[in-house]
Symmetry: C2
Subunit: 364 residues, 2 copies
Amino acid sequence: MPRRRITQTDVAAMAGVSQATVSFVLNGNTPAGVRIGEETRQRVLDAIRITGYTANPLAQRLAGGLTQILGVFTYEATFPRAGRDFYGPFLVGIEHAAERLGVDLLLFTSAPATGGRRQLTRDGWQRLGVADGCLLLGQHEDRGELQHLLDTNYPFVFIGKRGSDGGRLPYVGADYVGATTRQVHRLTALGHRHIGYIGVRGTDQPTLDRVEGYRTALKAQGLTPSFVEADDVAAAAAEILARSLTAVVVAPENHPEELADELERRGARVPVDVSVLLLGQPHHPRRGGRRWSGFSVPREEMGVRALYLLSRLVADDGGRRDREARRAHAVPGTELHQLLNCPDVEGATAVPPPSGTDRPARVP
Amino acid sequence: MPRRRITQTDVAAMAGVSQATVSFVLNGNTPAGVRIGEETRQRVLDAIRITGYTANPLAQRLAGGLTQILGVFTYEATFPRAGRDFYGPFLVGIEHAAERLGVDLLLFTSAPATGGRRQLTRDGWQRLGVADGCLLLGQHEDRGELQHLLDTNYPFVFIGKRGSDGGRLPYVGADYVGATTRQVHRLTALGHRHIGYIGVRGTDQPTLDRVEGYRTALKAQGLTPSFVEADDVAAAAAEILARSLTAVVVAPENHPEELADELERRGARVPVDVSVLLLGQPHHPRRGGRRWSGFSVPREEMGVRALYLLSRLVADDGGRRDREARRAHAVPGTELHQLLNCPDVEGATAVPPPSGTDRPARVP
DNA sequence: GCTCGCTAATAATGCGTATTACCGGATTGA
DNA sequence: TCAATCCGGTAATACGCATTATTAGCGAGC
């Protein structure tokens, strides 16, 4: 009952040629010494049309070709059962790009999860091989794994800026430094002089970048940084008031909602007494919650760009010929390291400081 | 530079045996006539451990095995750029199940989209072959495509009940009939006697089921159905008031939010004057919008069950031996047709009818 | 007559695995 | 002693495709 699928051999039989001829016609390739007459070519093409033949991606790959499948590996669950949907927006972009590229997406959901984090173990390496290349999303990174990726020359692209040894790791990231800098400038333009940074200074790249942006912007304005590294919101709020800060910037993972609540509980209105700029989108938008001012991370666009970049890396790698002519002229949008702009979000949590504390820098 | 991956031949060389022996040891299979000594077996296993060998899924599949990849085909974009995220909840469940099954997911994003709908054309058939089986999500269905699926004996499972010719199509659906029936009973229990059904009666399965549930429940109560098939909310609202309905049931795609607004604009308060039960989750939950009463579709659970079912179909199909002993005792949770319960949502849009119109059926 | 050079293909091989067919030596049965 | 049986494996092949090496035919030039 399960009738075999049409193969090149079937097509060949129908056209009265050899399987190899069919392969040549399909690929348009006539590698040095092989010629196919126009008449035969047409016969083959007709046979293909009639039988509705399509290549078997697996066999192609096994024979050294490409599957037209691109992989997506997430270090955490791609679609979390609980908690915020972090990867969703990326996938929207990734899928869109995949559609345009005519490529299927392979989600590596089988990777063994150790302690909630997926590992790219040896078991996983073989599975990667099904795809022509792979997108890596998530903060976690394992030196050994990355080295192996580089060693085997397997095409991959990180989503999210890679700082350490970033030179060799292709990525598409968000410009947290620039965006954070701009947020501080928004505040100083409103007249703020005492601007704090809320949150523990972790070692993940986004945090490092936010801190750098904050530092840079304050220095440019001749102001002194004020880091509030409290463990809980209550302590943070107390510290903000103790230091008489009129504005703070805070990353989404540092509980801005709760912080604002805590501030108001202590009599400081947001934003009238304290402006709050959010360095990214809120994690758990509340129903009827605040409309945060700050910036947004272009996740969808990152997904698109990352897949395009990956696609190009695959193409470069797949076409083993003429390696030199490659980066003769860099194709725009396919640089190995891309930092996308994070557009400002107007919102409603940034206003001039209360009079009597700071003064607007310039009165219109 | 791109060092070859470890193959069975490499392992064989290290263990001093033939490639075939390695294959036998790996599969535990000793197909009638082949015997492997315990000592050799251990040597092979050691070699596997040392080299970190893992099977290449492509080669396995090509040789008639399984890839441990399951496909997901959506007739519309899986992750829509705009509009509601319909498939998301399903994917949460699907991914979770995939993780447990140790299986990767292949998203068929490359299928050519004609007029916004993906087609499963001949071009797609070959690509399907990469996966051991496939999940189909979306309302659209093409007779020819389905017939082909059945003919080729390719394992697949629909998400969403399949009515027409449903007998042969495996699916995991939601019990819209039962859930809708229950909603009407909720209303009658509150004392409503004039209950309308809002929305054009489409031919898609969920709508058919909702209408059936509505009909059944009303008949059981000795009440007469009242279908409001207006094109726009204004007309619908007018009709509701003209017919003096005290409660309506409405599917999420029929703009319940706008309908409620329109009713209140005309002086009828929701739910005081008109109770509204939502037959499913709202499509575009508003910030600070109503907390709808009604039921919810267990999409996540549907995803889980569907993938489990698919996995079983694949296993049945893959183990070509002893076909008969198969459904000797049906494994629970793997019936070919599954209808999942849609739990009630309490909400705040269902109250007893205003006194003077209807009376509570029973006063406590 | 024989080689050279060109056209138009085909035969053969490899990719990594599963599987079938076969084989060589040792032990047993008569 | 010779065949039958059993043990422990190997060789060969197929899967569907890409690619390299090779072949057959034919007209021209020496």
